[in-house]
Symmetry: C2
């Protein structure tokens, strides 16, 4: 058998490429993922990942809930579900969004998805025609770029600062586009503790963005996986809170406040938009996994979610602090970084002239890894940035990793002079 | 709050339609689903659904496995997974396919998906350019039509008989297309206990189809959710068994041999194709839910799957028999139906002139429901057929349902004369 298999794989009589669609020919594996595969097999300290710490997974709660679900709700949990999602979960999330963020919401405004990645794909499917202008932050979440790209939009990048997307720069662009008779379809923003930059859009800019959406008639896709992970500072309402017209499509996820292994997220939007996304979802996977949905329902409904979030925060805060302290202690002058009040990432900007993708090999040789910033820019036009994660690795390793990284950067800066 | 919400929903100041993509404008909700929603709320005997019986879900096994997984493998089950799927599960499935179907297989030929519906969407994404010719059976699985349609293929329908797709008709079409300089991209077939027709492609036709695929250079998508549910007759190897070039993309699912609530299926194909589908999947949902995957791994690996399948068969066989007997007993002359050796469905053909979609209202008034056959035809050109399901409803209700249905049909036939 093994020989037959080897023959089969070796023979390759087919012209495989001749079968692929045009778009499939253009699909490329993420270089970052390929890079990280190398790192995972060595004893490098990786500040590159984007994973929650497994120590934050509420295993005992999950055991308890799951036994209850299998005893009382197996008929729902093990059967096919509706495309919109398990109704009690949708209702529980609508109530939670209302209580937590002051956003009045009914279950018809909530659809359950297979992680917010799926929501990004569905948004592409439902809203983007080839050539449509989609505004993203620079930098932005790279998997959102990847999801949207299939639908062939034209990306318009708006820079960030410590207060998030520079909405005044967006306004200038909108004026120019309007003069050219052009319209944008939507603005995509990770509004709070942004991935990759860690920054949060200020209250003033949130309000300004909503005003612009009305004036220039576009939608806002607010991706909010991190806002519950706040280690310092005062909470700030989601952009969705200020939405009185149904312009904001809000994405939430269980991956950072429960566990990623359930692959569950949700979309909160006007029922008109939810309905169309529901029809689109029917064709791609029928429904999100009901087993996870019924478990997630008990997690929210029985108050576990609200009780568990503070534990996650207590676990991550020292890690965030350790990374900020280590950056302060070790980084040479000329290196800048963001100081996030929450989330999972810090964004580091090196002096012009350093290419963090090229530097990666040296860093790995020194025993530390990061994600080069280039892939987070829609136009891949910035070379001297990197994303560091502080949630996955313990404090002492964070400190050691940042120290090693600082040495690599110092070397590189010397070489440049 | 409630008032604010109502105002928001009532105001609708947005021109929602103006935001949708061209393709989204064309997306329609399935009429069948809308119909079934009505049925579910009444006391009609529904032979319309496509659901496995919840009595076949191995709840106790799932409890046992899940506790073990949460105790020993929580780090894998609750974390993000790789896009290709949980490696031990891929390995277990490769071994199972080899043992069960005599198909030599390695784990690089297996990718885990969010139900085989997702595989259908990924196949569309990776293989179909607008205008590509995709061959389907007439009738065929309607959700496959729905998944492929987004990618704008031209469907070529090949009729079925009791031995499955009429491969000789396909051959005639292929000759004609070749003469016109055209090629087909792939043939989609539910090869065993077809949905909706219940028929199985004969051994001879399987071999013929593979020969044609070589001669005319196309791929075969073999969707095989039902072959394990065999109540009579001798097993027949999947088309994939005869594939020595990597032309067959095989789809399997846990929905009918474990439980649909995990939303897990798998694709077995040449590593070149798997690789491209993996890249495509990265953009749409990152990975199938790891929690379910680790549980499914234990289910296969520990032999539960092989021990449980006979129990499902014993549960369904009397229901299949009850439906065949009732059809024989009650149906008027002029009505024909398939006699499946397995699966979940029987396909009924009424005399020409009866439109089963129009007849549905009368049937529901008489207390029975079915799926009108029209939607299973790519070109919606056949009106006098229907799909009956025999797995969800107990034997006495099956008999009563078929009896009511026969009365409706007799009425309709009288009316036609």
């Amino acid at each position: 058998m093994q020989n037959k298999l080897e023959n089969k794989l070796a023979a390759q009589p087919l012209d495989f490429e001749s079968f692929f669609s045009q778009k499939a020919m253009e699909m490329k594996a993420s270089e970052v993922r390929e890079l990280l595969k190398l790192v995972e097999t060595s004893d490098v300290i990786s500040l590159a990942g984007g994973l929650p710490a497994p120590e934050t997974f509420p295993v005992d709660i999950i055991k308890e809930i799951t036994m209850e679900v299998l005893s009382k709700h197996a008929d729902k949990a093990l059967q096919y579900g509706t495309t919109k999602g398990f109704t009690p979960l949708r209702l529980a999330l609508a109530r939670w969004m209302e209580k937590r963020y002051g956003i009045p919401m009914s279950k018809v405004e909530v659809m359950i998805v297979a992680g917010s990645q799926q929501a990004l794909d569905l948004i592409g499917r439902v809203f983007i025609d080839p050539g449509d202008i989609v505004v993203v932050e620079a930098p932005t979440y790279l998997a959102a770029l990847n999801a949207f790209k299939f639908y062939e939009p034209e990306f318009l990048s708006i820079p960030l600062d410590d207060d998030g997307m520079k909405v005044d720069v967006l306004e200038e662009k909108l004026k120019k586009l309007k003069a050219e008779g052009k319209r944008i379809k939507f603005v995509y923003t990770v509004s709070t503790f942004q991935n990759p930059a860690g920054v949060t859009m200020s209250l003033e800019r949130r309000k300004h963005l909503i005003e612009l959406a009305k004036e220039y008639d576009f939608l806002i896709v607010e991706d909010n996986p991190y806002s519950e992970l706040r280690y310092s500072g005062e909470p700030i309402p989601p952009i969705k809170h200020f939405d009185d017209e149904g312009r904001v499509i809000y994405l939430g996820t269980f991956s950072k406040i429960f566990a990623p292994g359930f692959r569950l997220g949700w979309v909160s939007a006007h029922p008109h938009f939810i309905r169309k996304m529901e029809i689109a979802k029917q064709a791609v996977d029928l429904c999100a996994n009901p087993f996870g949905q019924v478990i997630a329902w008990k997690y929210v409904e029985d108050g576990h979610l609200d009780r568990h979030i503070p534990r996650i925060i207590e676990f991550y805060r020292p890690r965030r602090d350790a990374m900020l302290e280590a950056l302060e202690e070790y980084m040479p002058e000329g290196v800048r970084w963001t100081k996030p009040d929450g989330g999972m990432f810090i964004w580091v900007t090196l002096p012009e002239g350093i290419d963090t993708k090229l530097m990666m090999e040296k860093a790995v040789a020194k025993g530390v890894a990061y994600v080069p910033g280039e892939a987070f820019f829609a136009h891949r036009d910035v070379k001297n940035t990197m994303r560091l994660n502080f949630t996955y690795v313990p404090e002492d390793k964070i400190r050691e990793g940042v120290k090693r990284l600082a040495e690599v950067i110092e070397d590189e800066m010397r070489r440049l002079k």
